[in-house]
């Protein structure tokens, strides 16, 4: 009988442990749920299908940038250039499709490849030129890309994109914005990439201990170049969605978007020291930011208070996560 008792207890412990693993996996979710609960109480309009779809749409640009940003952060790096790359990508797309009247598909190709190419450059600067930290190389390309975006059209915006380009950012499937469906697809892809492929695991390994990774035969340079290229590519993709949303490209687009992207990644539980962070955490981080902005608009919080509230909520969201982890450790 005591044998059975022990077993039952063990099972309970096992269950408890599994539960904790889930909690700890979906940690930042608690912050999101809390925030949603508060806003639902404060504003009756908040939890309506319509508004939820608004949030889904509004979060998509940042969500795409953030998932790109997750990779450099996993390797203990950072990519400050994404906002500028977004701008440069869409300006080039505008020139190709609107000013030069080429086929929209070519425009999309240009948009994505400009982002990827500059991202690749970031990777090369970091690995081949051996610049000390991506903060510097991407700060450099951030300025370079923004400068070029301003130069190419003399700071003039470009409007009137063909429907095919606008599709992603504009259309709906039923009530669901295509841009959010894109986000889901991209996130699933990245989840598989990071957990189930060699390169994905190497990204974690490099962030965890670069020297050990190198001695294990991992080609660090190659992985880092891939990482920054992907981050740049995602900037291009986010740009494509943005153009679809506002049907125009302007050289100051994406200004300081890198901060929101980084915040989403970190709120989502990733670590600047590298090696720690998940795709789903990042998604929740991006949603927290979008929900917050949306809620403040709905409540018509005055502009000066908005900043203060955003600051406080960023801290609170992360703090909830910290509390949770502390608790799960104790128990």
């Amino acid at each position: 009988m005591s044998q059975v008792a022990v077993q039952t207890k063990n099972e309970a412990v096992e269950k408890n442990r599994a539960f904790k693993r889930i909690i700890s996996k979906f940690g930042p979710l608690i912050g999101l749920i809390l925030l949603t609960a508060v806003l639902t109480i404060l504003s009756p309009k908040f939890l309506t299908i319509n508004n939820v779809m608004n949030i889904a749409r509004q979060s998509s640009i940042n969500a795409l940038l953030a998932i790109g940003m997750l990779l450099p952060i996993l390797t203990a790096g950072i990519d400050l250039s994404v906002g500028s790359l977004l701008a440069l990508s869409i300006m080039m797309m505008g020139i190709v499709t609107v000013n030069m009247g080429m086929h929209p598909l070519l425009g999309i190709l240009v948009c994505l490849s400009v982002g990827a190419a500059f991202g690749w450059l970031n990777g090369i600067l970091l690995t081949k030129l051996r610049l000390p930290h991506p903060f510097i190389s991407t700060l450099g390309t951030m300025n370079i890309a923004r400068g070029i975006a301003l130069i190419v059209t003399g700071a003039a915006p470009i409007a009137g994109f063909p429907y095919m380009i606008q599709f992603l950012g504009r259309e709906f499937v039923g009530p669901i914005p295509v841009s959010f469906l894109l986000v889901i697809v991209v996130y699933v892809f990245f989840h598989i990439f990071l957990t189930r492929t060699q390169t994905g695991r190497y990204i974690y390994a490099i962030g965890g201990n670069p020297e050990a990774a190198r001695l294990s035969g991992i080609n660090i340079d190659r992985v880092l170049i891939i990482v920054y290229t992907i981050s740049g590519f995602m900037a291009g993709l986010a740009g494509l969605v943005m153009v679809g949303r506002v049907n125009s490209a302007f050289p100051l687009a994406g200004l300081s978007y890198e901060l929101d992207a980084i915040a989403a990644v970190i709120i989502g539980g990733a670590s600047f020291l590298g090696g720690v962070g998940t795709v789903w955490g990042t998604l929740i981080g991006a949603l927290i930011i979008a929900v917050l902005r949306n809620g403040l608009n709905l409540l018509n919080v005055s502009a000066d208070f908005q900043m203060t509230v955003i600051g406080a909520v960023i801290i609170a969201a992360v703090f909830v996560d910290v509390l949770r982890q502390r608790k799960s450790k104790k128990a």
Binding site: I192, R196, T197, R201, G208, L215, S216, G217, N219
Partner: protein, 502 residues
């Protein structure tokens, strides 16, 4: 020019220097398939540097390497792995954030199909489990996050990693330095099995008994030169030592016995996490107390709890009969306790700081003048004194800790704690990675400490040094003290029995 075909590996005239420091001045080495070839040399002799050249981690300045008779150029670790060279480095090279099985397969993951396909987590997990069992470990380890394991277990993972690689040559740089008896024997068995399969092993160790037991040939390095290659079985360890340090060593354990004084240090009812009962013990002046046990027995945890490094719920600590309240390492240091940690890289050193910074950092107060400024000269002088006393090499304080050899790094950590002028010294694996000559220096130091009225506790996984240097032995298992033996009654068998519970 080609190498000799009968050699699996041949290195000729290998030279390497770091800045002005000429480490290797033309080393020749050859390894045959199926042999265990041992490298022996003092700390800083260049053993690790030589093997890092062989694994592609460093680039040689001059010389040639032949693999199965053909000249090869090893640019990256991947090149060496491709040839069939697996390496267990001296310092842990693991990714704490990844799981154990992922670490084992790092760099050569198994995939479901072709080159671009997804990873086969399942097979990797299975393989890892098999390999861990071969090393006498629980297969459940495979799914643990590596960072959560103790040093010893991490080292075992490194070994497992090398074993799963289908290698022709396995390099082991002091693989047993953080293992305890049981794991060490498991490793010996593995080595013998590998040998039978015709796999060559390049083995670095400072433990002469194990060299004697495992080795076929031994190459001795000194001052950047190869001194000689000898057969292991037909030569004497004393001859090796003489070749290695240039003089003979009279005794390996310079044990001094002092008259036992009153009790100086006492621990009462201290709970080590996960243990079924609390720990109590006392130490008297004039004795050295050793703590023995298997990997993961909780010795380090006990020391950390005493030192205030981990939160501690219960337990009292007394020095000279007076209770001391310890909540943090600062409190412990103020109370006069020094804790020489086992993981020199992770817990001991500031790798990017100079030696004087490292040596004096736990006792900065001493060098702070009334003006609240630090006297840099005094710091330098003090550091120089310890560098001289402990024979740390190279001996200039401007060097960063990172650029020291493993054994010399260990000495720096010891120097740091000697510098605090503490009353109670807890050494956790103090001679890990230290050469025979230097070990004697460390033992002498312990004698000196005891003589000068300090309390010395030594945690060690090396039975010979426990038996050779201690007056009393505590044995730990699963967080409890299972035996408290005066040295006269302590035999290898009794200690092992208490450690395994068998």
């Amino acid at each position: 020019m080609v190498g000799h075909a009968e050699n699996l590996l041949e290195m000729k005239g290998i030279k390497k220097s770091f800045n002005q420091n000429h480490v290797l001045k033309g080393i020749d080495l050859d390894i045959k398939a199926g042999e265990v070839h041992v490298l022996l040399g003092e700390n800083g002799a260049g053993k690790s540097t030589l093997i890092k050249i062989l694994t592609g981690a460093y680039q040689k300045d001059a010389g040639e390497i032949y693999w199965e008779g053909r000249a090869v150029h090893l640019q990256t670790p991947a090149d060496a792995m491709r040839l069939g060279i697996a390496t267990i480095y001296q310092e842990l090279n693991v990714i704490p954030q990844l799981k154990v099985y992922e670490n084992i397969f790092l760099g050569r993951e198994l995939k479901r199909g072709g080159k671009m396909s997804m990873l086969d987590h399942k097979t990797m997990r299975e393989e890892a489990k098999r390999c861990l069992e071969m090393l006498g470990q629980s297969p459940d380890l495979a799914d643990m996050q590596l960072g959560k394991l103790g040093m010893g277990q991490q080292q075992l993972v490194e070994i497992a990693k090398a074993l799963t690689l289908d290698a022709k040559l396995i390099i082991m740089d002091e693989p047993t330095s953080s293992l305890s008896v049981q794991e060490v024997h498991q490793l010996y068995k593995c080595v013998e099995q590998l040998k039978e399969k015709g796999i060559a092993i390049l083995f670095i160790s400072h433990k002469l008994e194990e060299i004697k037991r495992l080795g076929d040939r031994i190459t001795i390095l000194r001052d950047g030169f190869k001194i000689e290659t000898l057969p292991v079985k037909t030569t004497d360890t004393d001859d090796w030592i003489e070749l290695m340090v240039g003089r003979s060593l009279d005794e390996k354990f310079p044990k001094q016995t002092f008259t036992l004084g009153r009790e100086g240090f006492r621990v009462e009812n201290l709970e080590v996490a996960g243990a079924s009962e609390p720990v109590s013990f006392r130490v008297r002046y004039g004795e050295i107390v050793g703590i023995s046990g298997l990997v993961g027995a909780g010795r380090t945890e006990l020391a950390r709890a005493i030192f205030g490094a981990d939160p501690r719920r219960n337990g009292k600590i007394f020095i000279d009969g007076k209770e001391v309240k310890i909540k943090s390492p600062r409190d412990a240091i103020d109370a006069g306790i020094a804790f020489i940690t086992e993981d020199r890289k992770g817990e001991g050193l500031l790798l990017d700081q100079k030696l004087d910074f490292n040596i004096t950092m736990a006792n900065m107060k001493k060098f702070t003048k009334k003006s609240r400024l630090i006297n840099l000269n005094e710091i330098r002088e003090e550091a120089k004194r310890f560098i001289r006393e402990l024979k740390i090499r190279p001996d200039h304080i401007e060097l960063k800790a990172r650029n020291l050899s493993g054994g010399n790094q260990q000495k720096v950590v010891i120097a740091k704690w000697l510098c605090t002028k503490a009353k109670v010294f807890i050494f956790d694996e103090p001679t890990r990675g230290i050469d025979v000559g230097a070990k004697v220096e460390v033992y002498r130091l312990m004698n000196q400490l005891v003589e000068n009225g300090a309390i010395v506790i030594m945690i060690s996984s090396e039975l010979p040094e426990i038996l050779g240097m201690c007056d009393r032995v505590l044995v730990m298992r699963e967080g409890r003290i299972t035996a408290d033996l005066p040295i006269k009654e302590a035999t290898q068998e009794r200690i092992m029995k208490a450690a395994t519970g068998g």
